[in-house]
Symmetry: C2
Amino acid sequence: MNKVYVVGLGPGGSEFMTAAAQAALERSDVLCGYTVYVDLVAPLYPEKERYTTPMTKETDRCRWALETARKGRTVAMVCSGDAGVYGMAGLILQLAADFPEVEVEVICGVTAALSGGAVLGAPLGHDFCVISLSDLLTPWEQIEKRLECAAEGDFAVCLYNPASRKRKDYLQKACDILLRRKSPETVCGWVRNIGREGQTSRVLTLQALRDEELDMFSTVFVGSSATQNIAGWMVTPRGYEKK
Amino acid sequence: MNKVYVVGLGPGGSEFMTAAAQAALERSDVLCGYTVYVDLVAPLYPEKERYTTPMTKETDRCRWALETARKGRTVAMVCSGDAGVYGMAGLILQLAADFPEVEVEVICGVTAALSGGAVLGAPLGHDFCVISLSDLLTPWEQIEKRLECAAEGDFAVCLYNPASRKRKDYLQKACDILLRRKSPETVCGWVRNIGREGQTSRVLTLQALRDEELDMFSTVFVGSSATQNIAGWMVTPRGYEKK
């Protein structure tokens, strides 16, 4: 069959994978993706062929998957979290226009906003934004503008890619933008290594978040003005209690 | 054990449930929740007790779950989609302050933004907002303000609860607000009955979306200025193709 599944694995091993994701991996001949993510699931399917590329080779990887499917094999392009949210589904569908004989199916998964949210409590219990702080593919001015609008709209905010070795001060810059409109006492939280060994998390104020040293394995949550710290849980109420 | 699991079921039956969600249901003595959601999973666990309440009885339902756990039983409070995103996790944690002997664990699930997104392609492939159009618990002015900020920040937007019998024209009102700042040609989409029998979807322009008649079983996606209609898929590129 000429098919590419783009599969969201969820945060870690198989515990947070959906049954549909597992079925897609089982039906595939080849597991393809960023090395770290393929290594997460390859032990479950030792007999399957693997094709991995490093972090910056996304276009090569997706083109390889489509070319391999054109040759009659079924390929699973695996993504951490969801297949669509900062995942490979978009790029595969963009390139798939050149491969009309290949069928593409996107299999959703639990993105870090949800898996990290569950660790902290319910930080995204009302309207929220998801913003990546990585400026590898996005101009910093656009990220800044979105942070300003998220604060202006009093959304709860989930920040992906809050820092990396090359972007040590990005979280601090983002917090400074949010602090122009939000209280320094705003309830915030972060989770590191969600659903994996060594998972850690913390609930803290926006002022304290500004000075945290996080890395690319961390997901950050900034509350709305309604968000509360309830016995160490980060909770953005929907408003049921007001009825 | 004095425990309440707040469990996100994903969009429909068991196909999009995670292994962790299934394990939590298996460990529970009682399945508790909104009637429609309990009915989705009860057939998988015919031996388990059920406690269901209608849509507006959320506080009663959560208090019952905590009281039942205090008596020594393990309760699964089931939620459609994710446990936190417009789910019961927040309310349970708010009320749990009165039940210090009860342990609460939140189990994430695939929310409609992700499951509906996979049906359409990759509408949320870059930064996005999730906004509920229901004003049962949120003043309409706040919803309007958030729509304005989402448009101003050029986010992709996912709209929950776009309409109901009592709120027939809310999607139209929301589109009119977005149209003040966004092109009428903005690529949009909707999915109805995600992951259930009778699933339908459509990709269309913002101008056309304004006049769609949808219902409470629909999830709506409004693109950013970068979102494209690629062979009928709704795709918001991350920007890999520019490298």
